[in-house]
């Protein structure tokens, strides 16, 4: 056989093989060098120090000291041994929030250098999937940020740390009852609220001035649905911005903000059936359908997937007003700059003022090796000082009921937070109770899908209500709330 060319080709392949072999070797070397997982916590169960007299309260830097705030009352119960706690979560709001975590953890480490808390940031979208996988493999973190809607489900399955006896007595009463509701299961609680957020109506001052409207500054004066509609029509007539308002209400946020406002509910008071197919419910559906039908809002806003998209519409001047969350304030400030003056007012209401609910609570793993240390850290993390610090840096609304009268000094546009402060008080109790049900994720998905059909496929309000009722009842039947299982 003639292989005149072959040596040339083969040598090239040989080099490649050698190269590949070398790289594989290189890779293996790296693996050997790097070692496996990070150093495990030293063996030995945490010993509660019998002589543990709590250290004298040291005021945290720059914060006022309220009772039990500066250090955990459970501090005495925590071990003096070296312990590593793995805390997994996301950074929802950007660089300021990351800084807040850094600072809060640094101050913790100064107080308790033997209890190392490592906060590992993971992407928000896959957060719960990763937690699910880790729990399934018995390798969950000691603590993580969870979703309120599924805490009770996971508690029922035995995956979450029961905090009731680990935290100071009656600690759960320190939090807004609406938020605590989704951490409570059969009288005990398995998580603690840490952040919450809500949305309000941002507006361009020039647009409202041009139509001669002064937005309300008091909750009791907030616009009704009808007034809101009139204002929208006037704004459209101005022909300055293409839409009267844009919004972040797609994907189910409108449910607490608008559905409950008409007096409708998602489920009955005994949580056994869907209650949305009522005249009030249909009225709410008709109202949001008007947003598209009357061209008040961009239809695409209903299905937006990513952060900044809706906010950008307001910044660009596509809409005169925008229903946005308080977490957008920093972004708006940085991007609108001086192009126009903007302020915020209350979400329009029908029979009563209601608002939406968000935020993430923190939970511990049932099988953590350091339950007392987790509890101690949680007490520190959810103390008045630390929540104040976190919220001021990252623009969140406080979750503690003993902070509702405090004026926080938000780093950006502190003047706007008053509206949010007032709004968060109008969280409908029945709505929160519904969210706390373990079937709420499934129902929420159904509501999102049917309301999208309402807004974008021309489905009638009556049909929408009927579909949600049918599909929802079926789902509840097959997946009853954990309290009744």
């Amino acid at each position: 056989m003639r292989h005149s060319s072959r040596p040339r080709v083969r040598s090239r392949r040989a080099i490649l093989r050698q190269g590949a072999g070398g790289l594989a070797l290189f890779g293996s070397l790296i693996l050997a060098a790097c070692g496996q997982s990070p150093p495990a916590a030293p063996a030995g169960a945490p010993k509660s120090s019998a002589s543990g007299a709590p250290e004298p309260a040291k005021p945290a830097a720059g914060a006022s000291t309220t009772q039990g705030a500066a250090h955990p009352a459970t501090g005495g119960a925590m071990t003096k041994d070296q312990v590593n706690l793995f805390f997994m979560g996301h950074v929802a709001g950007g660089a300021n929030e990351q800084k807040a975590y850094d600072q809060i953890l640094e101050e913790w480490h100064q107080k308790y250098p033997n209890i190392k808390v490592e906060y590992q940031v993971i992407p928000d979208q896959e957060r719960i999937q990763k937690a699910t996988a880790m729990v399934a493999a018995d390798q969950a973190p000691d603590m993580w940020r969870h979703n309120g809607g599924v805490i009770r489900l996971w508690a029922y399955q035995g995956h979450l740390l029961d905090l009731t006896d680990l935290m100071p007595k009656d600690y759960q009463q320190k939090f807004l009852p609406a938020l605590m509701a989704y951490c409570l299961f059969k009288g005990r609680y398995y998580g603690l609220p840490h952040t919450t957020d809500t949305s309000a109506l941002f507006y361009r001052q020039d647009a409202l001035e041009a139509i001669g409207v002064k937005p309300p500054k008091e909750l009791k004066d907030s616009w009704t649905f009808e007034q809101f509609g009139e204002i929208n029509n006037k704004l459209l007539d101005l022909k300055k911005q293409q839409y009267a308002f844009t919004h972040n209400q797609g994907g189910g946020r409108w449910v607490p903000s608008f559905l409950y406002s008409t007096g409708a509910q998602v489920v009955t008071d005994d949580f056994s059936k869907i209650a949305i197919n009522s005249p009030e419910g249909i009225k709410a559906f008709q109202f949001i359908k008007d947003w598209t039908d009357k061209k008040w809002a961009p239809p695409a806003a209903w299905t937006t997937q990513v952060p900044n998209e809706i906010t950008d519409q307001f910044v660009r001047g596509t809409a005169s007003m925008a229903i946005l969350g308080q977490w957008n304030i920093t972004y708006l400030d940085e991007n609108i700059k001086d192009s126009f003056k903007w302020d915020v007012t209350f979400i329009p209401r029908d029979k009563m003022q209601t608002t939406s609910l968000g935020g993430t609570p923190v939970v511990g793993w049932a099988k953590t090796k350091h339950p007392k240390e987790v509890a101690g850290f949680f007490e520190y993390f959810t103390s008045v000082d630390k929540i104040k610090q976190f919220d001021e840096m990252a623009n969140y609304v406080p979750v503690r009921s003993d902070m509702t009268e405090q004026t926080l000094n938000f780093q950006v546009r502190s003047d706007l937070m008053q509206v949010f402060h007032q709004q968060i008080k109008t969280l409908p109790q029945q709505y929160v109770a519904y969210v706390a049900r373990s079937y709420s994720s499934g129902i929420g998905t159904i509501i999102t899908e049917e309301s999208s059909k309402l807004m974008l496929s021309g489905q009638s309000p009556e049909q929408t209500a009927k579909n949600i009722e049918e599909r929802g009842n079926k789902y509840i039947q097959e997946n009853p709330d954990v309290e009744v299982r």
């Binding site: 719960i128 599924v150 695409a300 997937q305 998209e309 596509t318 499934g442 899908e449 049917e450 496929s457």
Partner: protein
């Protein structure tokens, strides 16, 4: 003595023959082991879960064929099936045809063809996250690129990913953009398996360029085409990431596809057993279609 030696059984055949019989198993053994550990185990587990009602983390409860019965009357699932088929037919055949054409062009003696090869391959290389971001920008209503282009020729702006009818085509368009280079590369490699002597023979026989293509190139590309077809169809049946990133199956569930429905049931509505049943049906569909393709087109490639 000699007789005794002669009476001994003949020595075994040459060592080489034995090696040749055994060695294929040795060659495939590492892969089979890895498959067994990391793929078959989880597969069988998931298939088993399809006969239960399970929320993913608690205790599964056996429900027999219940999930399958529910699937038959589930409008969302049926929409997902329909959309997956639409997606598959709408992307695979055009993609293969266009990429074959491109590969032929890129295989010819053209100056600068490496530049063109890179251009066509670039969309394949960028991550889906980046691609989805750019295409969302392009599809923005009212002021995105696509709508600007349409309005310049008098067509009104469309909602694209928020439009129940256009959402799936928008995703298909994006997938086409992203996948073309992939199949072009495969065809480019496939064209290399055709020896020049074959063309020489054809040319000596006086065949035209077109005839060369139809009579020689295309038939000899059959193994490559079979591969691209099967891989393409399997990939299209399993499409997930572009849907997840662009529409999440919406609006409503207008752009729902099979794997998106599986994901929704597994991680949004906590019905892992139900999701597993969907996965079994998807598996059977893919298996059936692939088997059919092998039977129809695979014969020739058995040497």
């Amino acid at each position: 003595m000699a007789a005794q030696i002669a009476a001994l059984p003949r020595p075994r055949p040459r060592r080489r023959l034995r090696q040749r019989d055994v060695i294929p198993y040795v060659f495939i053994l590492p892969n089979l082991l890895l498959f067994a550990v990391f793929v078959f185990g989880p597969m069988l587990f998931s298939f088993g879960m399809s006969f239960t009602a399970w929320d993913g983390l608690g205790r599964p409860s056996f429900t027999g064929l219940n999930n399958y019965e529910k699937l038959l009357s589930d409008d969302l699932f049926l929409t997902a099936v329909r959309n997956t088929l639409l997606y598959s037919f709408g992307t695979v055949l055009p993609m293969l045809a266009i990429s074959l054409g491109l590969a032929l062009m890129l295989n010819s003696r053209l100056r600068g063809r490496t530049f063109f090869r890179v251009m066509i391959y670039l969309p394949v290389v960028i991550s889906w996250v980046a691609a989805a971001l750019v295409w969302r920008l392009i599809f923005i209503h009212p002021s995105g690129l696509m709508n600007a282009a349409l309005e310049s020729v008098g067509i009104p702006a469309q909602l694209w990913t928020s439009d129940p009818i256009l959402a799936l085509p928008a995703i298909m368009w994006m997938s086409l953009w992203k996948g073309l280079g992939f199949y072009t590369v495969i065809y480019l490699a496939g064209l290399q398996t055709i020896p020049a002597t074959v063309y020489e023979a054809g040319m000596i026989d006086g065949a035209s360029r077109w005839q060369l293509f139809w009579r020689i190139t295309l038939p000899l590309l059959r193994p490559t085409t079979l591969f691209a077809l099967i891989v393409g169809i399997i990939g299209s049946f399993e499409v997930f990431v572009p849907v997840y990133l662009m529409t999440n199956g919406g609006p409503g569930y207008a752009s729902m596809v099979m794997v998106m429905a599986i994901y929704r049931s597994a991680f949004q509505t906590y019905q892992m057993g139900y999701a597993s049943a969907m996965a079994v049906i998807l598996f059977l569909a893919i298996f059936g279609v692939s088997l059919a393709q092998f039977k129809l087109f695979g014969r020739e490639v058995e040497y």
